[in-house]
Point group: C2
Chain length 402, copies 2
């Protein structure tokens, strides 16, 4: 089997932990696997380098930031290769450039454009473990780039895709994806399997494990991800393509997003295009709008418009909406709301999942302010004070604690 | 003027010092110069990374060591470029690879094979200050290499040569080359000028400022070096080609080397080739022999052989010489000696410099055990207990304190 391992910053956070990672890799190699290992910078290093740069400039040049930040992963990759060699495992360290990772020149948030896996394949063919500095690539002009936060996951998934690897094991300090946040519901269970689409909808549950960009890429390249802990031998959670017999799983997990705010715009002039204009302007400012509710026009030719967005975008959204003062009455922002979501591929073929959720909420006297549904998700905006109660109620309603 | 600046680890040892370096570079740029700035890693960083690697292996792989160690200079180069930009100076950071520095693949002690200055020249033409990560290059295969201790000086001199720069200013925490070690003779004076050849002979005086490899390369490429302090505005010492009117300078400085040991081999069989064999074997072991004295054969067909070498080579030299036990009587090692040297290009055309030194030593009752001379140097092996006295006596004998 050809397997890509990826170890995050906490897993390589000090020399003892790098040694621990080396032991795991050595074991997998001795079991007969071919291995590429992608590593992050030691935890804290990237933030330290950012703080150094910010000592000099509030907006440091992105090209130089990338040269600066890409050094951390080079250190870890070199050290892990040395640690492996000292255990008798033939290993070679490669920078993103050497691993053939070409990106566009959108510095600090570059996109992988292509991977030339020849160099990695040549070393694998010699029996070597290839250790790759994650989070980085190189532009056509030869400048170092980084892929943004969580970029080492992207590196690992992209490499697994380019090498047609059997699996991409993403190691962190969490041993998999849970049916909900165990800090809220201690009865939360680790899942054995979750589909790409469910994982994308459950982003908040996997946020500490891997980011949505990586899941999207894995889905596109059909890379099987296994989320595991580098501190235990627990099985982990497989993230992959849903298969036929998976339809039995009605609901996979309950996600909670506290970073929500609700905007209500009253007395919007009811002529075609006003709402569209508002949302276009918000999109121009890269403000993501989530749920939208527009009431039917009432008596005096105006309507009310409600939508949700990330709390962190509130101030920028206010500025945009104030530009429409001739077409709207008043506006109102409420950041004491949260979004709770029920996710499961089984919903596609089973009716009644949403109704069950609404009933459960009603039973606890939780008012649902907004609802949005997709093929595999039911999301509800509720008052934030009910967040934990709602999560626990839904978790038990769908039998996830069983 | 096109000037190369080089700042060592102490000069960029923390963020405030990097800011100080940026101010110096900005000033030189605003004065109308074109600039390339070569930087070392922040002081302590390289040793920290070495200790990390040695945690895993006593003999870490040299290829991976180079990838590891070359990261430190990339950090400093990026930070200095960011600091310059924040002062309104257009600057660009380059790794050794990006600066076009090609080396052989002798990892951790690579030799620069060529420099393609095109990328640097293009950025200079745009008015940018080019900040280059020192100490590093890249092999034909694309692997990062490092140039050994003091390698950033080499980078700077080689770049100055490739760009045909007007000067290569080497900044450290010492403000130039002194006539002798000021810790021994407080009356030591900073020199305004010293020739390459004198500098090479006075290596111990310049050891903290720049290494012999760099002086040799500067001589070969005819690069004018200026040794300066990054912590003061003092003038510094120019290291360059000696000119005609320099003949007036009889003696430039007094050097002391404590890392000396004297070896005496008694009763060497006096047949042709025995001494040659011993020295060949020592050379095979990379043991440098400095001064050699062979007494004329006496009565019973044997001779005595004396020579000096570095104290640190004693044990390895013993092992070699023991292999000759059938051809020699006894051997004796004395590591309580030192070498004091009088250096000056003026000696070439002035007689009596050596005689003056011998007289001065005799006056202080210092016995000279061995003597060697070159065109511009008189070196004497004496008991180490007289080291400071000899240095001070010679320093005043030649009027260097005036």
């Amino acid at each position: 089997m050809l397997i890509v391992h990826k170890y995050g910053g906490t897993s390589v956070g000090n020399l003892e932990r790098i040694e621990n990672v080396a032991s795991r890799v050595a074991k997998a190699k001795r079991e007969g696997n071919d291995l590429v290992v992608v590593v992050s910078a030691m935890s804290g290093e990237t933030n330290k380098l950012i703080s150094y740069a910010e000592h000099f400039s509030a907006i440091p040049s992105k090209r130089e930031m990338d040269m600066l930040l890409s050094s951390g992963e080079r250190v870890t990759a070199s050290l892990l290769a040395i640690a492996l060699q000292s255990m008798g495992i033939d290993a070679i360290a490669m920078s993103g450039r050497q691993a053939g990772i070409k990106t566009n020149d959108n510095h600090t948030y570059a996109r992988i454009e292509s991977i030339d896996p020849t160099a990695m394949q040549n070393e694998i063919a010699k029996g070597k473990v290839v250790v790759v500095a994650g989070f980085q690539g190189i532009t056509e002009e030869g400048n170092a780039t980084t892929l943004g936060r969580g970029g080492s996951d992207l590196s690992a998934v992209a490499i697994a895709g380019a090498l047609n690897a059997d699996a991409c094991e993403i190691y962190s300090d969490v041993d998999g994806i849970y049916t909900t946040d165990p800090r809220i519901e201690p009865k939360a269970k680790k899942m054995d399997f979750i589909s790409y689409d469910e994982m994308l909808e459950l982003a908040s549950l996997g946020a500490k494990v891997l980011q949505n960009r990586s899941v999207e890429l894995a889905k596109k390249l059909n890379v099987k991800i296994i989320a595991k802990s580098s501190f235990s031998d627990a099985e982990g959670t497989v993230i992959g393509e849903e298969s036929k017999d998976m339809e039995a799983v009605l609901v996979s997990g309950i996600a909670l997003d506290r970073n929500q705010a609700r905007v209500t715009i009253r007395d919007v002039v009811d002529r075609p295009g006003v709402a569209a204009e508002i949302f276009t302007k918000l999109a121009d400012e890269h403000i993501n709008v989530d749920m939208i509710i527009q009431n039917a026009s009432v008596d005096h030719g105006t309507t009310n418009l409600g939508f949700t967005l990330a709390q962190s975008d509130i101030n920028r959204a206010k500025a945009v909406i104030e530009g429409f003062d001739h077409d709207i009455g008043s506006m109102d922002f409420d950041d004491s709301v949260c979004k709770v979501s029920v996710v499961g591929v089984g919903m596609k073929s089973h009716a009644g999942v949403a109704a069950t959720a609404f009933k459960a909420m009603a039973k606890e006297n939780i008012n649902i302010e907004m609802i949005s549904t997709s093929e595999i998700k039911v999301s509800m905006i509720i008052a934030e004070k009910y967040a934990e109660l709602a999560v626990r109620t839904l978790h038990s309603t769908y039998g996830l604690d069983k």
